[in-house]
């Protein structure tokens, strides 16, 4: 339990840091000095002090949406193990709750975007919805596949159940982590699905949705998006615990290492790839799904 609380605190604290780290590395790769790693913290601090400006046509939706968004993301975060410690929220079937709580967040974010009534937000919302529809299956093919094979339905137990005793399993894990990576890229709207720091509204997805938010609202959005990114990072890392002895300290070490590696990969990917055409993104996601199915088949029929 203590460890669980620790891990949720870690998530809450380190989430912006991770984003900052990725940006920093990216800057370095592209030959810039870049903003300091803890830049996100400054941003959040700044946002807190800003005056809130809502669009004229906005309603109570834009008022509650950031809050719900934030809370649900935090709840989702609270279901993830760090260093293989039992998280705060962990029960039979929390994997489903995890997916659906993020769904709740998305639901309200989309509504909030449409609440403005400007077609920029509309565009972003539409895209977000479309991609979310295809991102959902990926999640189930990565975590869900393990769940279905181990018959365990709690994220913690699922990760716990991973054994490295046969080779197919290792392949399986690797593929899983790949598609999890794609999932992360999609859900957190990074390259090559979305360009987080573009300045053209027509090409944005996530950024354009929060275009008309400011102050505390924007703070909550930004913060929850940082946390979301970090959540997916954790999903990724958790696959690799089995490589270490199943002890908390080692787990933490692995965690740090993998996070670092992951941030580097993200940065590299973002540097070397450019954003896809909007039309092609579903294919890209389906590709992830496809490899999910593939490795599942491998696993099922090579016993």
């Amino acid at each position: 339990m203590i460890q669980g609380i620790i891990s949720i605190l870690i998530i809450l604290l380190l989430a912006p840091m991770f984003a900052g780290l990725v940006n920093k590395l990216k800057a370095i790769f592209t030959g810039r000095i870049g903003a300091p790693t803890i830049q996100p913290y400054y941003d959040l601090k700044r946002l807190l002090r800003k005056e809130t400006i809502n669009a004229d046509s906005s309603s109570f939706i834009s008022a509650i949406s950031p809050v719900i968004n934030f809370v649900s993301v935090v709840i989702a975060a609270a279901m993830l193990p760090i260093g293989l410690a039992r998280p705060v929220i962990s029960f039979e079937g929390d994997i489903i709750l995890f997916a659906y709580v993020l769904g709740l967040a998305r639901f309200f974010q989309i509504l909030a975007a449409m609440d403005i009534g400007s077609s920029f937000e509309g565009m972003g919302a539409a895209r977000e919805t479309t991609f979310a529809v295809f991102a959902e299956p990926i999640f189930f093919f990565t975590l869900g596949s393990i769940a279905f094979m181990s018959g365990l339905t709690s994220i913690y137990d699922i990760y716990h159940s991973i054994r490295l005793d046969n080779v197919t399993y290792i392949i399986f894990i690797i593929v899983c982590s790949t598609s999890a990576f794609i999932l992360a890229v999609t859900e957190c709207s990074r390259m090559p699905v979305d360009d987080p720091n573009t300045h053209l509204e027509l090409t944005m997805i996530h950024e354009v949705m929060i275009l008309d938010n400011s102050g505390i609202d924007l703070f909550l959005y930004q913060y929850s998006s940082y946390i979301k990114l970090f959540i997916y990072a954790i999903l990724e890392t958790s696959f690799f615990y089995p490589f270490g002895v199943k002890s908390y300290t080692v787990g933490i070490i692995i965690f740090v290492v993998v996070i670092a590696v992951l941030s580097i990969t993200l940065a590299v990917v973002e540097t070397i790839t450019s954003r896809f055409k909007m039309k092609n993104i579903p294919q890209y996601l389906l590709f992830a799904t496809a490899i999910g199915i593939l490795n599942l088949l491998i696993y099922t029929f090579t016993k």
């Binding site: 809130t52 046509s57 008022a63 077609s119 895209r127 919805t129 279905f148 018959g151």
Partner: protein
């Protein structure tokens, strides 16, 4: 259960009284008062019987009805509860709905009578124990629904839609005839309580299953028999469409569950079949819904989707029964039962909401709506609750039932190894996909109808007290079942134990940690409250104001520039163009300077247009080509006599 029959008597009363009340207004008041009273009474009695009594059956002998005609076992009581529970708010809404027409001097008395008959017959239908009685009330239900449907009979679409419903119902009844004949022939009894056929019966078993699944599936609206739903639901008066979507299509589910009681254990392939069909219904139901602009039609397609989800549960249950595994059956059927209740609740909520909107705006086309949130904030909140619930998003009731079904998948995968994990995973993915599409669809309608600014100038948007009450009740139920599912799960479990799975099962339903879930939901709720107030505090500190939205430098933005429903759903519809028969026709302006241009997109139902309509057209034209029979000369008539005589003579000659 005498109380129940007393309640029914109260409900049926209006049909007699209404004859003596010349004034529409009085008639409507009396009718609705009696209906609601009777329903509450009936609900209390059946709820009491379901929850607090521990006998599995309640036979009755009242008004000299021999007690074999009706039987109140747990399943019947469960459906009774659903019907009465949902019918109460619908009837409350019905008052203000018909008030609108009464004020415009339209006579609603006959329609009220049909509504009453519909309610009563539906309640009697699920409590019938004798096949013929069942069939009779089935027909009375369908016909009264039909007669209510033709409330605005001058409209072409009403004629078509209601006729679809009418014919569909006739086919269903034909199939049910044969189904019950087979059962009767097999068991030498007409009583549900005596029906039981085991797979050893061979051909009969399969045939009767096929008949029942087709018939009840048609009523429930599984694909590909769904085509009547999107035609019939939109055109009915909202009261009826709410009742249709909420309850009448559930009688199909009731029938299927009964069939399972009669004919078990099911073969495995049947479970597969049901699972597959339901999955298709769920996915394409919601996908079709995404392509609609007519709010009621959209909701009708969502009924197809939700029926699909219920069917998935039933399919899991069938598989479970094929393997004699209790937990699988419990989770499968449990999920189905609970989702039946939930869907009844939030679907009627949504339909009533849509009715309120279309009555106020005088259109069902969502492209013409928008910005309603500024006119009816609380109404929008209530509608939003319904939308979240139907999308299966926590912390509302839709999630609970879907959660059970997911657990069903997991347990199936766990219990029956080999290829099951793969299949179950795929089904889970399918369900998740459906969830995603549902989110897309309901964000679409909510944002287009309510948010942004008004696309078309709204004359008046006022919601009467009764509408608020009925919506409130339903929304409240959504929230309660969502946040505190435990007692409802208990009820479902009890229903399952009486008649589905052996009583001795240590239920897999109860072993799910419901308390924990409600706890988390509570946390979410409190967290939201807390953060919200914190945010308010911050805003008070640093100020808050509104200004024009970011127009990318463009100043005079007008409502017509908002994102539309079709453009919102376009990318998703493009993907499955072929199935949705989704086509757009775009007329861009050819000139250099902006000029007249138009765009419109719509989707047709594949089954309906390609198969049903065309099929019938071709068939009838083919038949009408038979000209040689339609002649006027009497000499032909006489030569016919000779011909037929010779034919019969030949038969006689060749007879041995």
């Amino acid at each position: 259960m005498n109380l129940f029959f007393f309640a029914l008597a109260i409900q049926i009363l209006p049909t007699i009284i209404i004859g003596f009340l010349p004034d529409n207004r009085k008639a409507s008041v009396v009718t609705h008062f009696l209906l609601v009273a009777g329903l509450i009474l009936g609900f209390s009695s059946s709820f009491n019987a379901l929850v607090f009594s521990n006998t599995t059956q309640h036979n009755i002998s009242i008004f000299g009805i021999p007690n074999s005609l009706f039987r109140f076992d747990a399943l019947a009581l469960y459906f009774l509860c659903i019907i009465q529970l949902v019918a109460i708010p619908i009837s409350i809404y019905s008052y203000s709905y018909f008030k609108y027409y009464i004020e415009r001097g339209k006579s609603v008395r006959s329609t009220l009578v049909f509504y009453t008959l519909l309610l009563v017959s539906t309640q009697l239908l699920v409590s019938a124990n004798h096949s013929i009685v069942f069939l009779i009330f089935w027909e009375v239900m369908s016909i009264s629904a039909y007669l209510g449907m033709i409330f605005e009979k001058e409209k072409k679409e009403v004629q078509t839609g209601s006729f679809y419903y009418f014919v569909m119902n006739h086919i269903v009844v034909y199939l049910l005839f044969v189904f019950f004949f087979l059962l009767h022939h097999q068991t030498k009894s007409w009583l549900f309580s005596d029906f039981h056929i085991s797979p050893e019966a061979g051909k009969i078993f399969i045939i009767s299953y096929a008949l029942s699944l087709i018939a009840f599936g048609m009523k429930a609206g599984f694909m590909p028999f769904h085509f009547w739903l999107p035609r019939a639901h939109p055109i009915a008066p909202t009261v009826f469409s709410a009742f249709l979507s909420g309850i009448i299509i559930k009688t199909g589910i009731y029938g299927i569950l009964r069939t399972f009681q009669f004919l078990n254990p099911t073969p495995e392939w049947l479970g597969w079949l049901v699972l597959a069909v339901s999955m298709i219904s769920a996915i394409f139901g919601v996908w079709y819904a995404l392509a609609q602009h007519d709010i009621k039609k959209l909701l009708a397609y969502h009924s197809v989707e939700n029926i699909g989800i219920i069917g998935i549960g039933i399919g899991i249950g069938f598989i479970g029964s094929a393997y004699h595994s209790l937990p699988i059956q419990v989770l499968g059927f449990g999920g189905a039962l609970l989702h039946t209740l939930n869907h009844a609740i939030f679907k009627s909520l949504l339909f009533i909401g849509s009715g309120v909107i279309s009555q106020n705006l005088g259109t069902r086309n969502i492209e013409l709506m928008g910005g309603l949130v500024h006119r009816g904030k609380y109404f929008v909140m209530l509608f939003l609750i319904g939308s979240i619930a139907i999308s299966g998003i926590p912390p509302l009731n839709g999630f609970i039932s879907e959660f059970i079904i997911y657990n069903g998948f997991f347990v199936t995968a766990k219990e029956l190894k080999n290829y099951y994990p793969l299949v179950m995973l795929i089904s889970a993915v399918g369900l998740a996909f459906v969830g995603g599409l549902a989110v897309a669809c309901f964000t679409k309608i909510n944002s287009i109808m309510f948010l942004g600014s008004e696309r078309k100038e709204v004359k008046h948007f006022n919601i009467s007290f009764y509408e608020y009450v009925s919506l409130g009740i339903l929304a409240f139920l959504c929230v309660v079942i969502g946040f505190y599912p435990q007692p409802f799960i208990g009820i479902v479990n009890k229903v399952l134990n009486n008649g589905f799975v052996p009583v001795s099962s240590s239920s897999a339903l109860l072993s799910i940690n419901w308390f924990y879930i409600s706890l988390i939901f509570g946390i979410i709720f409190l967290g939201v409250l807390f953060v919200y107030f914190w945010k308010r505090a911050i805003q008070n500190k640093y100020g808050r104001r509104t200004s024009a939205a970011w127009g990318c430098g463009y100043e005079n933005v007008n409502p017509r520039m908002q994102y539309t429903a079709s453009s919102f759903a376009d990318e998703l519809n493009e993907i499955s163009k072929s199935v949705l028969v989704y086509h757009k026709n775009i007329k861009p302006s050819k000139k250099i300077f902006p000029a007249e241009a138009s765009f419109e997109s719509h989707s047709e139902d594949l089954v309906d247009n390609k198969f049903v309509l065309n099929g019938f057209r071709n068939f009838s034209s083919m038949i009408s080509k038979i000209e040689f029979l339609s002649h006027t000369d009497i000499r032909y008539y006489i030569s016919f006599i000779l011909i037929i005589l010779t034919i019969y003579g030949l038969i006689a000659f060749l007879w041995n």
